[in-house]
Symmetry: D2
Subunit: 366 residues, 4 copies
């Protein structure tokens, strides 16, 4: 994993800047004969698309994805799949004032320090727009997973928005019924009020997202530096604004005792192991157990806020930055489909990698 | 990063099992002409070595490292550096009883499910003994960093042991004065009592470790899939028993507002930016800012405990597992030098990668 | 190097099929601040463009390259550079008859056997059209080399066309004066007659191409599996229809004695070594010597010929294949700019790789 | 493929210098449950071992290989296999005189120029001793191939020694009956005289080696930059002293017409295609056809000869180099088992890679 490519054998290389003519990705290593068309990818892109409600940026992007290669007569051919999304709502003039100024919390200053040049329009390459390409790639991964592992299901949702977590039980059926993908009708309501208030005050907040994958076969993961959890951690941490990643019990594992933390093992139907609990998040020794794979990550609050923050210009002059314009008050909302996409890519990659090394053969139990 | 190799251009491939004749690593891509000898590496290995006090496993391993290649007359030559540590205290007979049984919380079951064969002695490849090779590799990375970036300093310490965090201010001078590498004399004392009690009851606990690197140049990191934080997350998550990784504010970033989270920017001496705070953990957009790089990770409690836990055998028979023998009640303690080693490897790798892409030239400020 | 990506740190991923909507490449790892625009790339693409004279396919492709990312205000930014070339002269109907038939000498049968699906239109991914993307990527590499190593010059030319080599001395000034890029006016004349006759008879012929690079700094190459000659061999062998690659003396080295083959070393101006000869082709131990780097490769004759050849259909029925239509009688001609492009990419990659490992510092002589 | 690692998913990292304490390799990605022991590897190492007859260096190396990891109770476990060969006949004093002098034709000068330091003893890392590790790795690959593709057979032999090729028909049964692995009793005799004379005169000669693999399944190869021929070319070119690589017709393809070069296709038994000839060397479009895979490479004459050659010292002083001592008059002889090993590694790697991408499913014919 390096530079602008991730994955071992299912490899995704994304390209493009926020305000360039287009962005996209090359998906290499997809198995052949997977049914795929633009509509299937568009479905996922539409979930991430900005401007769908008042809680996400009002930038209007159609985010229409085109398949330029690698698919023939509705099926993948095993050759690289090029996906392109044209940028249509660029409004570069909006961003002229940040050419010389480094916005606090943004990558403006580090891109400048590293490269000595930056496409300052909308954050250029460091913009969260890059994640549209991830979602498109994730759509390819989902199509391949659907063909190879029927029943595998990936679900993403928010578990925290700023000061607010979820009180009471989770109801997964609610996820698609609210703009926050939160599995709780009550939370959706209170979060809406909270975010409205934040947005009006020109402030923003962070978020916690959880992605689960059910139906993952046991045996995926390539220890010790291609562990499934290692690659998931890298995948999630590479998403813009993510500051923490947890598997299963996560950071809270530090507080537990061994007696509390053990997932006891039993033998269920069809000689498949079952577990008393899932502190491990479905991964032991870097290899999937067959339980739900559970990943959580935290997204920091949007750095573009109305409250003036001290900063400097390229020439070293002190200044104040106030960001008006079309920004998500909680960028974490749109990180949900991105996290799902990364989960899909990592799982497919490991499924293929496992085929390479073991041929998919498994040690039998019972 | 994949399989048993990590790093992009400074590449470390570890090999070896807990109870095989030896373990070690091949370090490829180290710059030439770096002063290096076995004593320098041994210094770091001795920090991680088991059996040094009553809080770590009583397995007696000398952990003596030999340099088999890549060093000539006390300096690296630019060719692969092979480091070997012989296993001397193997006692394979201790482990015969786990040949057929899957220990809860261990990788026994997943290695079996993946490979259909496993070296069950002491966990084989999934044993934390593998981390000795990481510490050795980290010693090479430190030597190269010392030559290339004078003043860079990496410090690891524990910030939580099970139920106990650190109350009161941190005192970094205390780190080397207690067996827990905790920056607090008071905490060291209360933690000792806590761990003694746990150990005697046959229980164990988790831990939280923080690694900081001061003096890291701005500009390291290869967005967007070789970001510095991405690679640090992968590096830490690949350590045995780690379940969560945080950069800077970490998971708590989800709770903050944008106004709280902003690190304001000022111009300090020598046209170097300074910041009002370090919520970002020294990384913006995946690139180092020049502030301290701050990584935290959680280690789950040792799964080997005296309390009986339900499990199954390879043939599917229900059983109970009680682990006697020489185990760390808090395996997180010895994760401190491992985390430091991973930090060193990642930083050197990115330093070299940055030389490749930018030649180390930087955009100027002021 | 794998799948559809080549290069270690200067990485090129090509995508696209002969008759899809477009093809192109993602160039990752280019240094920032390199002056680059579409005109510079178009210059190289025009050299490879089909339909320029009667000796190359009459397919009419504008081969206009667009830069979609990674360049801002005329300079590279260090982010991925996406280059796209739209296919304009597709005429898919020409190819309908090969949907079921495997053309001898083509990849039709192996793509089918591997993938169980193939885009049969014009060879799909296996078409030499893919090399347009290489030439575009080579243009980026040349731009970066021009900025980093002034004076480095890459020259490609044909040294054999079927039965005809070059008699008499080479005159490099002739290369750009004839359609074969042959460094000999006399050869150009006789080759033209030869190829005319072949073309009219519906036959084709092979070719030998030599690529030299002058001004390559000593010290490039990453032994032992990233040797400069190793990577050049891979780069050239990956070009369509190439069957052999030679460095310096090449296959003829097998016939020599040690006394004949030795390149004796002297000390020239500025403490730079000079050599009595260049049997080594500018590479010793996989590392450049500072002499001209000399690579040669053989391209097999175009498999698309008028003479009927026996083959089978997908359903196993015997058939005969006669290929009419727009094909190069000597596909090797257009391999010259492709070989140059690969040389440029490999040299830049190794220049960057060398910066990573050695910082570009050199052992001094004298 | 880079630095000291080759392979995509079956990855071999070699390490060690000619006169260090040991050399070896880490083999990563080998499938689990492959029967493997030291004797199996030793068999192949003994073929390459020096000092077996008067035509190879009289350096006495036992070349005993030890398996340090990755094998448990006689079978591979899927974890990294560390193979170590101790250097026993080092005689470093022999080499003291070359500490300051660059031997013509050797990598002395380029290692110095690149790294500014070199282990000059016996060529250090650039010594052909590194190939012992390749042969050991090749033994692992052969064991895995034997388990996965019964009937696959790799055969290497010399087809030229300096001025002498093979007159008359080849007799493969002769290969193991002469010290040159030449498939001709008559050639073996005349070559022996030739080499004796060369050796006595202190001269040396080059060689041409051919490696064939029969029983290779159709469908191996990952176009376009992981083509089977691309990887074979890289693998062979990475062997010490190799200057040219050919697939099938090789460089001679440049001289042919399309009518001559076509391998016509028929349908044989079991719906497997058969071919009228094998100009392609078993590879079309970078993918195996099911025919024999045929690779040839040229090894330059040993540079260590008695005839004085002009050179310079590190301080720039002119000198003459005469190499006495224990050198192979035709280093190509021992390249035969090395070439076989590389073939085995590349084929296994592609077999695994193909499993990853296609699951080993094939398009059916007939």
């Amino acid at each position: 994993m390096s530079f602008n490519t991730f994955g071992h054998v299912f490899r995704v290389t994304t390209w493009g800047e926020s305000h360039g003519p287009a962005l996209g990705c090359t998906v290499d290593g997809c198995p052949p004969n997977v049914p795929l068309d633009e509509a299937a990818l568009q479905h996922w892109l539409d979930r991430r698309k900005p401007g769908q409600n008042k809680y996400t940026t009002q930038r209007r992007e159609a985010d229409e994805v085109r398949i330029l290669s690698g698919v023939f007569e509705g099926r993948t051919t095993g050759t690289p799949i090029q996906l392109m999304i044209e940028n249509t709502d660029q409004r570069s003039k909006d961003y002229g004032d940040i050419a010389e100024t480094f916005r606090p919390g943004h990558a403006d200053i580090t891109y400048w320090q590293k490269y000595g040049i930056r496409d300052y329009r909308g954050g250029g390459r460091s913009s969260a727009r890059e994640t549209a390409a991830r979602v498109a790639a994730g759509g390819v991964a989902r199509a391949a997973l659907a063909a190879l592992v029927p029943g595998l299901a990936i679900t993403g949702y928010m578990t925290r928005m700023g000061a607010h977590g979820i009180d009471g039980p989770r109801d997964m059926a609610e996820i698609d019924r609210n703009p926050f993908w939160v599995p709780s009708a009550a939370a959706a309501e209170s979060w809406a009020d909270y975010l409205d208030a934040l947005r009006k005050s020109g402030n923003s907040c962070g978020a916690e997202i959880e992605i689960t994958a059910a139906g993952v076969p046991a045996g995926l993961g390539a220890p010790v530096y291609g562990k499934l959890d290692t690659d998931l951690a890298a995948a999630m941490m590479s998403i813009n604004a993510v500051k923490g990643v947890e598997i299963g019990e996560g950071m809270a594992a530090a507080r537990l005792t061994g007696a509390d933390n053990a997932d006891e093992i039993f033998l269920g139907n069809a000689d498949a192991p079952t577990y008393s609990s899932n502190h491990a998040g479905g991964i032991l020794g870097g290899i999937s157990t067959g339980q739900d794979v559970v990943v959580r990550f935290a997204v920091k609050p949007t750095s573009s806020i109305l409250k003036p923050r001290a900063s400097i210009t390229k020439s070293g002059r002190p200044t104040e930055v106030v960001t008006k314009g079309r920004h998500d008050p909680c960028v974490g909302i749109r990180a949900v489909p991105v996290g799902e996409a990364m989960m899909a890519c990592v799982l497919l990659d490991h499924l293929l990698l496992d085929r390479a090394q073991t041929g998919g053969h498994r040690g039998q139990i019972g």
